[in-house]
């Protein structure tokens, strides 16, 4: 069954190949169903391969499947093939699973969109790219997937291309990713130079020959790629803007899967990070700083999706904190549980946005619980999961991250703990403003959104739970968000399934922690206390009030002014430089010199002036005459 692994990426690719030319003819909803069924089939194959791999002895859980040579020249040989191991299959399983659910959700969510088929075309291409990223057996093919998901993200953010904010956000995402990609590419070049290969297994077997400075450089260059893709400081602003895309896209690409690609890459290069602990520290500190900045920024947002976007930035920071600390299992654990609860929260937000007819301002919501009970309850479960309330999944995964952070540095733990409190608080604020309190919308109020935007109706607001396409994924994800902790329970050594499963890949490189049972209980109690404190804080502050300017400072609303500063100092300087180059250097200096020489020649005498007739006939004649003269000259020379 392992040999069927090629079907995992191929099925979504087939969907793309069918939908790209025929999608519009297949129409709505058939094209959506084709896409959904193919991704679901991919999920089934993934599970079967997973089981087949599981049946192997742990030491033999690594298979490569070579397809063909992609390109080769001299020492550089890049193949196309898959690497099936516990890490890649873990990724593939949750990617296909969550993707299938979000495909199903999208059939309902995009029901009225005129570009329905195109949406699913892109979505299938995205799933294919994401699977290539995680299943590739070499860095370059992973980079193919890496860029592929970036391009699909660009397509899908700018999906409603007639909206200026969506078009700009798509472009911004691609450019920010490109900055990281330049670093990623340099990392690949350095790996190739030092090891002569770009195949994962070969590279890792040759690391002994590579000096530590090079390993640190490799790790940090690949991390730069991850900073772009996974929205870490300073390259995170694109993710907030990316919320201009359809909500299922935010759930799938900008929460559950694509943005975790950087974390996957860090886990994949765990052998490198293990030999380059300095790089690990840098990554951990960037991660925890991003976690804190993201969480504080989320506290002051008023757009239902932007709260979730900064929350995602923050949670990704936690994952890098874990990966940088050497706690790869914790990083993957958090990635999985985050995929469940954050996809859930985004889909819930999408359901609310539908009900509110595209109004995304949480200050205009309130009192939705009774009207949309399924959405409200599942959103509540998502909130408790992300907040880390025991025994929801986030409690276990975030606890795992923080415990490992303490082992590296208590300072990392402290910032992470404050962030945990903030997480429970900002999600609570969102929950109270959206679902509880009094209704701040009117049933008669005509929508304020652009009449041409999808889903527009001129009716008043009548919020209700969505169709079954959208409810089923909510319920399934809620169940996963609640129970996800079972994947890797501490305390009893035979319950850490994920740790044992990933052991063949990351086991030798894991951070070794030695906490007694008592210490572990202490951590658990602290985590639970922080979560409950955050929930309580949110309840006391936001249960009755909708406006607290002191708690929503502009500094946090603008996300520490980082985007503003980058635009101000980098983008504008670049633009000014470009204008200077085009108007002064290009026209005045370089072309000026050319034209200057030309007029100098032109002005050197009346006799010569006659040659400047502008007729090519005379130039051609000159050419011929010149050649004849030269030929004659050579003949004479040769003859003599």
């Amino acid at each position: 069954m392992i040999h069927a692994a090629f079907l995992i990426p191929l099925l979504p690719l087939a969907g793309f190949a069918v939908l790209a030319p025929f999608g519009r003819r297949l129409g709505n909803p058939l094209s959506g169903w084709i896409a959904t069924v193919l991704v679901a089939a991919s999920f089934v194959v993934t599970v079967l391969v997973f089981i087949a791999l599981f049946r192997q002895a742990p030491a033999h859980r690594e298979f490569t499947q070579s397809w063909f040579t992609w390109f080769a020249a001299d020492r550089l040989n890049v193949g196309a093939g898959l690497l099936v191991d516990p890490l890649s299959m873990t990724m593939a399983t949750f990617v296909t699973g969550v993707s299938a659910l979000i495909h199903l959700y999208s059939i309902g969510y995009m029901k009225h969109d005129p570009q329905f088929a195109k949406f699913f075309t892109y979505l299938n291409l995205f799933v294919f790219s994401m699977l290539m990223l995680v299943l590739a057996d070499n860095f370059v093919l992973s980079f193919f997937g890496w860029e592929g998901v970036g391009v699909c993200s660009y397509f899908l953010i700018a999906f409603w291309f007639d909206r200026a904010d969506a078009a700009s956000a798509g472009k911004k995402a691609m450019i920010f990713n490109r900055i990281g990609d330049a670093g990623f590419l340099l990392g690949l070049f350095l790996i190739f130079e030092r090891t002569g290969s770009l195949q994962y297994t070969t590279v890792f077997s040759r690391l002994g020959h590579v000096g530590t400075p090079s390993l640190v450089a490799i790790a940090l260059l690949l991390f730069l790629g991850a900073v772009g893709k996974s929205a870490q400081i300073p390259l995170f602003p694109w993710l907030a803007d990316a919320m201009a895309g359809p909500t299922p896209v935010s759930a799938l690409i900008h929460a559950a899967t694509m943005v975790t690609a950087g974390v996957y890459m860090m886990c994949r290069i765990s052998p490198v990070l293990h030999l380059a602990p300095d790089a690990g520290h840098v990554i951990a500190w960037f991660g925890v700083a991003t976690a804190f900045i993201g969480a504080t920024s989320a506290c002051a947002q008023t757009d239902i999706k932007k709260v979730l976007a900064y929350s995602t930035v923050s949670q990704l920071g936690y994952m890098f904190l874990a990966a940088g600390s050497g706690a790869y299992v914790a990083a993957v654990f958090l990635m999985l549980t985050h995929a469940f609860y954050k996809a859930l929260l985004f889909l819930g937000a999408g359901s609310v946005i539908h009900a509110m007819e595209e109004d995304q301002d949480i200050k205009n919501m309130g009192g939705l619980t009774k009207l949309m009970p399924i959405t409200a309850v599942t959103f509540l479960l998502g909130w408790f999961s992300i907040a880390g309330v025991p025994p929801f999944s986030g409690f276990w995964s975030k606890g795992d991250v923080l415990q490992n952070a303490w082992a590296v540095s208590p300072a990392l733990w402290a910032i992470g703990a404050v962030t945990a409190l903030l997480t429970a608080y900002y999600m609570g604020r969102e929950y109270f403003l959206v679902f509880l309190g009094e209704r701040r919308w009117s049933e008669a109020r005509p929508t304020e959104t652009d009449p041409s935007s999808p889903g527009y109706t001129s009716r008043g607001l009548h919020p209700h739970d969505p169709t079954w396409h959208m409810s089923v994924p909510l319920v399934v994800l809620a169940a996963l968000a609640v129970l996800g902790g079972l994947l890797n329970l501490p305390f009893r050594p035979n319950l850490d399934f994920l740790e044992r499963w990933l052991d063949p890949v990351v086991g030798p490189y894991l951070l070794q922690t030695h906490f007694s049972a008592g210490q572990q209980w202490l951590f658990a109690v602290a985590d639970a206390a922080l979560a409950i404190a955050g929930v309580g804080l949110a309840a006391s502050l936001w249960r009755r009030t909708t406006d607290r300017p002191a708690l929503e400072p502009r500094f946090l609303y603008m996300a520490w002014f980082i985007d503003w500063a980058e635009d101000r100092f980098v983008a504008r300087t670049g633009t000014a430089l470009a204008y200077f180059s085009a108007t002064v250097i290009e026209s005045k200096v370089i072309d000026g010199a050319v034209n200057g020489v030309a007029s100098l020649v032109r002005g050197t005498g009346g006799a010569l002036r006659r040659l400047q007739t502008g007729y090519v006939r005379s130039y051609a004649l000159g050419l011929v005459a010149g050649v004849v003269a030269l030929v004659a000259y050579v003949l004479v020379r040769v003859g003599s």
Binding site: W70, F71, A72, A73, D74, R75, L76, K118, V140, F144, E147, G148, A158, F161, D162, A164, A167, S168, G170, K171, M174, I175, R178, I179, D181, A182, L185, L186, L188, F189, L190, F192, E193, R194, T195, G196, S197, R206, H209, V210, G574, T575, L577, A578, S581, A582, E586, D591, V594, A598, G614, V616, Y619, A620, L623, V631, L635, R637, V638, G639
Partner: protein, 562 residues
């Protein structure tokens, strides 16, 4: 076996070896467009249909022959193949010597593919007869340049291409066509004069050493040049190629020429003729002046890298689609130049591959821009908006081509760029680092232009009809290009297999020739190619073992070719 033998006067068959009794594909490929051009010239002016059909048939005929050449080409052989060598003007050393190797093979094929596409995509309605004649003559000139193994013959073809292009820009171009055409002609013509002097000097030096007067590059490659002569000759050749390509800072004719030329002219200038410059660098600079190449590589690498960054920056503020593509071409050619002077097999293979890749996506971009112009009558980016709304298919094709140009993996631009940068990183790390930063800029200017032109809402002024979707005819013109862009992105190996042996032969020749320490202007050359190739022996030992087999293979091939 000789086509048109009477036209060449007495023909002395020299150097015939086995396999040459076959059909003279290469000579035919050069002569077919000339013959068809003459035929078209004889047709009455009014018979538009016959003229177009003849032009298309002629260019498709060349494509057919090119396909046969590809079929006959021995993969794995790095030497020249299908050589037809005929002494032409014997006392004077000029010979009709054509041959094809891995470097020129796909450039010829690309030329043969792009000309019919340019003819089919041409929108020029006035005087089709003259237009067709010039395009066909240009095709002959380009193919002849890529195939010539005789320097003087190369020069004749190289120069001949100027005249058709001059007339195409001047006759069918846009408002400032006169200025653009003259600037193009005078600039490139002046630069070529340097090369002519260089050619003659090289031949005299060679004659002095061996007593043989020949323009055959296979013999001239063995000329012993003093360091100064080597550098001077290199500079004289490079002057012509740098203007032709163009390389920064000799590029200012190109935005004018690309911008003012008609669609077919822009396509042929950027797609095919730019490659005459970069091909010249690989074939003649690297083949004839190894010492100078090693000494001056940092300079040329720097110009290439500046071109990448500068072209990207200036492209970002262009308001005219065609000029934007012109500056983006400057950046892309920068990559090709970097790959050529990195002096590694990886980078040089990537460079040759990238010449083909750039030809394909730049052609597609210019054709798409021409389609926009046909509908809206402008190249101005601020005057276009929201085209995707009513032309989603055209927007989709534009997106694919744009992504190829940005270098997204899975499309053709990536493989060449990756090989170039990875290969350059081995020998000239910091140039590679700056060049890699250049990939960010490609995304900046192209995505910006795309957003301005295709995104947003269309606001037709007055009774202007909504932007029309791509027609079937337009789709058919672009289909082969898009197909190749995708195919070469996914599976470029058939090309690389044929390119690498020839590239390895060039790199080997460079290594061997640069080894003898010939002092340059009194200074001993301390850094040889070999030393530059292996700055980190400990790391590379691992990898070299796997490829030593192919290197030995190359060496035998080189001997076989000589």
């Amino acid at each position: 076996m000789i086509v048109g033998s009477s036209a060449f006067g007495p023909i002395v068959l020299t150097g015939i070896t086995q396999g040459q009794r076959a059909f003279p594909y290469l000579t035919t490929m050069v002569l077919v467009p000339v013959g068809v051009a003459l035929l078209v010239a004889l047709l009455p002016k009014g018979s538009t249909w016959a003229i177009r059909a003849a032009g298309m048939a002629g260019s498709l005929g060349v494509l057919g022959i090119a396909a046969a050449v590809l079929d006959q080409f021995q993969s794995g052989d790095g030497g020249y193949q299908m050589v037809s060598a005929h002494s032409w003007v014997a006392p004077f050393g000029l010979s009709w010597t054509l041959g094809v190797d891995g470097v020129s093979l796909f450039l010829v094929l690309m030329t043969a593919v792009l000309f019919p596409i340019a003819l089919a995509g041409a929108t020029e309605r006035t005087n089709p007869k003259a237009f067709t004649v010039w395009v066909l003559l240009l095709e002959a000139g380009c193919i002849g340049s890529f195939l010539s193994l005789d320097l003087l013959l190369f020069f004749l073809f190289f120069e001949t291409t100027l005249v058709p292009v001059y007339f195409i820009i001047g006759g069918w171009g846009h408002e400032r066509r006169g200025y653009a055409a003259t600037k193009f002609f005078v600039y490139t013509f002046a630069a070529s004069a340097f090369m002519l002097v260089g050619i003659l000097a090289l031949v005299f030096i060679h004659q002095g050493q061996t007593g043989v007067t020949t323009f055959d590059i296979r013999q001239l490659a063995n000329t012993h040049l003093s360091g100064t002569a080597d550098v001077l000759l290199f500079c004289s050749f490079t002057a012509a190629f740098a203007v032709k390509a163009p390389i920064f800072p000799f590029h200012t004719w190109s935005p004018d020429a690309y911008g003012e030329a008609p669609a077919a002219g822009s396509v042929l200038l950027a797609g095919v003729m730019a490659k005459l410059g970069t091909y010249g660098i690989v074939r003649f600079d690297l083949g004839l002046f190894p010492h100078a190449v090693v000494v001056l590589a940092p300079l040329l690498l720097s110009l290439g890298v500046i071109g990448i960054i500068y072209g990207g920056i200036v492209a970002a503020v262009q308001r005219d689609l065609k000029r934007l593509v012109a500056y983006s071409s400057l950046a892309h050619l920068g990559f090709i130049v970097v790959g050529a002077f990195a002096l590694t097999g990886e980078a040089l293979s990537g460079s040759v591959l990238q010449m083909v890749n750039h030809g394909l996506y730049t052609t597609a971009l210019f054709l798409l821009i021409a389609m926009i112009y046909r509908r809206r009558g402008t190249f101005s980016i601020p005057k276009l908006k929201g085209l995707q709304g009513s032309a989603p298919v055209m927007a989709g094709v534009f997106t694919v081509v744009m992504l190829a140009s940005i270098g997204v993996p899975g499309l053709n631009g990536f493989v060449g760029e990756f090989l170039i940068l990875a290969g350059t990183f081995l020998t000239h790390r910091w140039w590679a680092v700056v060049a890699t930063a250049g990939i960010i800029l490609a995304a900046v200017y192209l995505l910006w232009a795309y957003q301005q032109v295709f995104h947003g809402k269309q606001e037709p002024d007055g009774d202007e009809a909504p932007f029309a979707e791509m027609t079937w005819r337009e789709g058919l013109v672009l289909a082969p290009l898009v197909g190749l862009i995708v195919f070469l992105g996914v599976y470029p190996q058939p090309l690389l297999q044929r390119i690498t042996p020839s590239v390895d032969a060039i790199v080997l020749h460079l290594e061997q020739s640069a080894h003898p320490k010939i002092p340059l202007a009194g200074q001993p050359v301390t850094s040889t190619v070999a030393a530059r190739l292996d700055p980190y022996p400990s790391a590379v030992t691992v990898s070299i073992s796997s490829s030593s087999g192919s290197r030995r293979h190359t060496r035998t091939n080189v001997k076989g070719a000589k």
